[in-house]
Symmetry: C2
């Protein structure tokens, strides 16, 4: 399995991306195709190429994090993102991972790969792990700012299929993010989506409120891309804040405190626990509903996060998510496959 | 100053409400009027009445947490919420504090007190304190699920006036909750609201993303009541989760760990720090834009949270928020006061 990785995308490219790719090649036995300027990549990754089965795909342009996505993608055919997505389109790579401009990843995936038949709106499914050992898929976490109720139903279908594929759980629990438990709660989008979700074959368990996200009450949380993006970033921010506060107080306070903190770490691995929600570690998100496997990593991904994103790409490829989605979509829409 | 307190509202009523009211009477030198069934209140609070200047207002009915607000308010004129709001309307109390049914608090405030002239949509402003010592006002945190851009502008005006009144800060920084920094980001509500906010006299500092809420970058965060409510509850939930995890691991792990945790507490007061976002401690929120001072406490408020909510009520009364809002509204709309 060949996984293409954008070596030019993200705040810590190319150094941390290369480090993460090397780790992933070792840990997951996948072949990595690094996409970026070949002169730079040969210098930085050259000695690993042979023994790890890594290759370099030259891309002499890059789309910056703040460039307007449509203009950038249309005007930069040699950018690492456009080339990476084309590798998936052509079948040269099974998946593409990038920590670069998210908008450019979305737009290039839409126009180059196209949508899976039956899907109106591809959406970003992000795995969140707060509660011990039980990840939750948040969909849409940022692809569609303005949504209609039937879009949320499709997100629920995409999310349910993906969650089943990744974790082997039959009929994952699907919940609608809302402001209360009763079906009359929320804005008109949430109210109307609730009524549609009730009628599907999904394992729809009703509304979920913000305070219950950490409580392992559901598998798939469905919302519009505006609310989902704010939720995801809030979780990141508050966790980073706790982590920072703990570290910060360790610097300010007594030696006794530092020793306490060390003992705490030794006993419960607090670092590992706090890092679960740390974007520097988190494994990225999958763009669900496009014709190919696209993994969007956080712009601030460092080596471990890149490695984890490549791991998610491998799982996504192995589960054959695209065909599962197509099958489920056909079943749900009544079109015979 | 007389502050009416709903002794029948919230999960821990009446016991914790009475405890909190007694604490507040001592700490803030305010006169408390407990609203609830007089037989119960005389038994539970009777011996404190004289020396603390507390009184009892009989309300022989109660609105449950899950009752539909409109029907409940309309059919229960003798409920503690309806009687409490009427005390404010009649000038018998300067403010009313309740941890009861939020919908019933909103609806009874709208119909009994009415709106301040110039305000279309009253909104809930919640004080969040994550970053050390710098509270942020989130508005609207739940009164209006469906909003139009000009409503968000009014929330910004209400929030700015309230924040100025509470903390004496001139021209508080006002930010729009959004999915990115650029003004083109977000759903159509956010995009249009941004354009309107730019044209106001407010100290509008642009968009704020979820990860920056804990970073002290702004004073007032403006959003619709759907997104705001989800954000607030998510912050509560994740903080409760961290707190629980810390306590939980203390029970499971070694004695060395428990000693470490004690040392940590001693050194940095971690308990106090974690509790800042704990709803059992947090001081409630103000319903801004109605003709009277209404403080909405969390349904799970215990004594300290009730005490803090009464403290917020006192501050709100002292700052004469209603007149400030009216003055600011007239200035902003160009109507001469």
């Amino acid at each position: 399995m060949i996984i293409a990785v954008d070596a030019a995308g993200g705040e810590y490219a190319p150094h941390e991306v290369i480090k993460g790719a090397i780790k992933a090649a070792r840990e997951y036995q996948v072949e990595i195709a690094l996409v970026g300027r070949k002169e730079i990549l040969y210098v930085q990754a050259g000695r690993h190429l042979g023994k790890l089965g890594m290759t370099i795909i030259d891309a002499n342009d890059v789309i910056g994090p703040d460039e307007p996505p449509i203009e950038a993608v249309d005007s930069k055919p040699n950018s690492s993102i456009v080339i990476g997505v084309n590798l998936v389109k052509d079948g040269a790579a099974s998946a593409f991972v990038s920590a670069g401009n998210t908008g450019a990843m979305l737009y290039s995936s839409f126009i180059i790969l196209g949508k899976i038949p039956g899907v109106d709106r591809p959406a970003i499914g992000s795995l969140i792990t707060i509660n011990t050992g039980s990840p939750v898929l948040l969909i849409d976490s940022g692809a569609n700012a303005n949504c209609r109720p039937h879009h949320l139903v499709q997100f629920a279908q995409l999310g349910s299929t993906y969650f089943h594929g990744l974790f082997g759980i039959d009929a994952p629990r699907v919940s609608l993010l809302n402001t209360g438990e009763e079906e009359s709660k929320g804005n008109s989008l949430a109210q109307e989506s609730y009524q549609l979700l009730k009628k599907t074959d999904l394992n729809f368990t009703g509304n979920i409120e913000g305070q219950d996200i950490a409580r392992g009450k559901t598998d798939v949380i469905v919302t519009d891309g505006f609310t989902g993006n704010i939720l995801l970033k809030t979780l990141e921010g508050i966790s980073a804040h706790w982590l920072y506060s703990l570290l910060q107080s360790g610097q300010v306070f007594s030696k006794a405190y530092r020793l306490s903190l060390q003992a705490l770490n030794r006993d419960i691995g607090m670092d590992a626990w706090a890092k679960r929600l740390d974007y520097r570690e988190s494994g990225g998100a999958c763009l669900l509903g496009v014709n190919g496997n696209i993994i969007i990593a956080h712009g601030r991904s460092q080596a471990t996060a890149i490695k984890n994103a490549i791991g998610l790409a491998k799982q996504t490829v192995e589960q054959n998510i695209r065909d599962n989605i197509m099958e489920d979509t056909y079943e749900q829409t009544g079109i015979s496959g």
